[in-house]
Subunit: 347 residues, 3 copies
């Protein structure tokens, strides 16, 4: 990004105060703003920083009244926060405007490549793979044979999309995530050695899904591991074979979901949560960080915590009682003493 | 895979019923079978789907008796499940039949490369590295100098096998796993800053080992970090320096094993388990998901759970008592009341 | 490494006993030493191995007196352990002495590349990126546009350093670590679908930082995610957007730190620890493995454990009481009996 204050004011339909020629190349927080950046004042708690920030340009609300002279350039808009969000989206999109197939990319002759795609240096698009219009395949990304990337999806550097797996439209997959490695399926033979169960299913990622970096989504033994529309997944998440995650659920970092478990819609799984295999979680369920879930949850909207996980109210009660154990212990000792006294009284 | 029903029936020595010309290119579950796929009926619970599945070809047991007309092609075999397993193995092997060194791979002149290997585009095989007969090195995989890959082993895309580390025969290493990064070893100097302890050992992966995606296996400080024959490891597992994992043990996703800890043979470590360093785990030990183990386990076949982990029976007892804490608390209050009454009675 | 015993003795200013022509190419532990390697005897507990080790050369202290004939070559030095450390550092540095830009690397014309750098095959250095003097960029490493790598820093194979992010001097980043993926920031719209909050900040890694393999460090929403000087991080660590980790802190494997949390200086976070977002941890705090921290810790040097975490003394007390629950339970039953007896006595 590189704009003059003038250009930004014009774009936002705002009112410029001060030097319109000043150039900004980045965005900053008002309390730590640097010259050459744009910042904003939305929360009145931060008003004092408007007089000290070194940011070159400040977005403020129309009704902002300065108590003393401000050297920085101001742009007045009806809602500074919304204007900022608008600008940030443009900035973010601006970072992702690469187009063209790099001469040092490898694209198989049998691959289908759409219009306006980006395929970076050393990316590999294998036989019979599909890269739809507007998709972006960053350097070192591997699209295996018969894998498909939908329109306008972005696969960042180092993503591995294995054989037959599909990514829908408008998805974002962050660096070094692996989609379609074999599920962890073995049977023990008579000598207790593990024999591999072939994993011949695939992974289906639906539209509008975002997946963090260094995640693992295993292919199904048969059929599909499915990540439904609108799911958002953080970094280092483990999704085993034949798992299904319902629409618009959020999965925080380092969660592990075991084989064939089915998560409902609009669920939230906190960081480092673990779920055993072959269970079902109802819609709108929230599971607290580090919880361990080993049973199906049938109640919609339930909130759970703990390992093993139970309902948050019971969990909190048990936590309080746990902390009270020393008191409980003391109370029992005292009861014992009183009883001994009573016994003597009777004797 | 692409076979006619006829070809599959001939291969399995089965009896064909219906159209032998129909082509299948994939395998599916009977309840969600799609046209162009092969499915199977082994479990009688699924019999009703035989009349509704859209799979083109169904493997059934010889003694299967249809209650009404089936349009799909049937292949009768003595054991439908075993025939399927046979086919799946062929399918899986068919996916992995690549041979040849891609012109856009980099192979050092001093590397030793065997017969019938596959080295994909943008793979790197460094100085003095060894890639034995039949090994498969996928795109973006890095074989560092003096590293060795044994016969018929498969290193999927993005695997990094660092200097001096060795992978045995018939191993499978999934995408983006790192073998031979430095162990986490430091000493604090007088200013409490950490100084690196050189990590000059290596990693030895023995034969028939499978390792998931995005795992980390650190090289030993001196000597070797060792993964013994037949070990199976899921995704996102952390193996620190100088760890040893015994033959035929299974390590589920997101487990972390700290430095110099030694795991016995035929052990199972559940998902997200953590083990401290410098302990030993006996053979056939099973550790439940999310457990934290901070002491050696000397009893063969012990089953542990919890963080800190203790034997599963004690763990379960303590869980029951934990849930009983509110009742216990109430009982103590009542005892107190009774004693007060008794005291009044005595007075 | 490849040295004769003679060369090592001369370098260490030590006294040679035995064959000076013998060549060593590696270092080994005395109890498992192999021919062609160098080992050492520092701890008297290991003295017996000096007579059985197959290592070709043994470093011993000047005052070592052999009780019987030793065939291996000895090198006597004032302090065998310090001499070994010196040698190991040289060995380690020897592994990392690559220089030159490989013809199959891609380096943008607008990138700034210093002197004596190494850029391996299929590495990518993008537009306006900076690779300072002496830095080493291994194969398949991606330096995105406007990203910077400081002097003498090493980015191992598969590291992804995204747009605008910076790595200081003398850093080591291990394989497949991702720096600068988007922070996990979304708002739910009226239909409860998640809308992405643009992540336009960056990541700053200061000098002398070491980061393990397969880690994820997300870019800030605005501003910077900051890893301060001297921080050492193990494998598979998750650092969310806008986190700050203070100087010389150590972060063990599989830790997860949520957004905007600030860790002090000289802290130690044990393996698999999780921290919620928006909290502050004081300097010199130690957090035990698998703990879950959901509140700020203001006391310098505090030691915490458990999930939820509390001070280690309280944690240990509660653990003891937990294990005592069955006894407590029994004691209450007995008190009940005694009271019933007393009541009868009164009646």
């Amino acid at each position: 990004m590189e704009f003059t204050a003038q250009q930004i004011a014009a774009f936002l339909n705002g009112t410029l105060e001060g030097n319109g020629e000043v150039v900004v190349t980045d965005v900053s927080k008002i309390e730590s703003g640097l010259p050459g950046t744009l910042t904003f004042l939305a929360n009145p708690k931060y008003t004092r920083f408007v007089y000290t920030t070194k940011a070159s340009v400040i977005l403020v609300n129309d009704d902002f009244v300065a108590e003393r002279k401000i050297e920085n350039t101001l742009i007045r808009v009806p809602n500074a926060y919304e204007s900022l969000a608008l600008l940030l989206n443009i900035v973010q999109n601006g970072y992702n405007n690469k187009v063209g197939i790099h001469p040092q990319a490898f694209v198989s002759e049998s691959a289908q490549v759409g219009k306006d795609v980006y395929i970076g240096p050393y990316a590999v698009v294998s036989d019979n793979a599909v890269v739809a219009d507007g998709a972006k395949i960053y350097p070192h990304t591997f699209i295996d044979s018969h894998a498909q990337v939908g329109e306008n999806s972005v696969l960042y550097s180092g993503v591995k999309l294995f054989r037959n797996c599909t990514v829908g439209k408008n998805c974002i997959i962050h660096g070094n995530t692996v989609i379609g490695s074999d599920g962890f399926g073995f049977v023990q033979d008579n000598a207790e050695a593990y024999q591999k169960i072939p994993q011949v299913g695939n992974v289906i990622i639906e539209d509008e899904v975002e997946i963090g970096s260094n995640c693992c989504i295993d292919r199904a033994t048969m059929g599909s591991t499915i990540i439904r529309k609108g799911v958002k997944m953080d970094n280092l998440v483990q999704i085993a074979h034949n798992v299904e995650i319902g629409e618009n659920s959020a999965v925080v970092a380092q969660v592990g979901i075991s084989g064939s478990t089915k998560i409902g819609k609009y669920c939230v799984l906190g960081g480092q949560v673990g779920l055993v295999g072959h269970i079902e979680i109802a819609d709108h369920v929230k599971i607290g960080a580090q919880a361990g879930v080993n049973n199906s949850i049938k109640e919609e909207g339930a909130i759970l915590q703990g390992s093993p996980a139970f309902k948050i109210r019971d969990f909190q009660k048990s936590q309080v009682l746990l902390r009270n154990l020393p008191k409980l212990n003391k109370e029992i000792l005292e009861l014992r003493k009183e009883i001994e006294k009573l016994k003597k009284g009777l004797a």
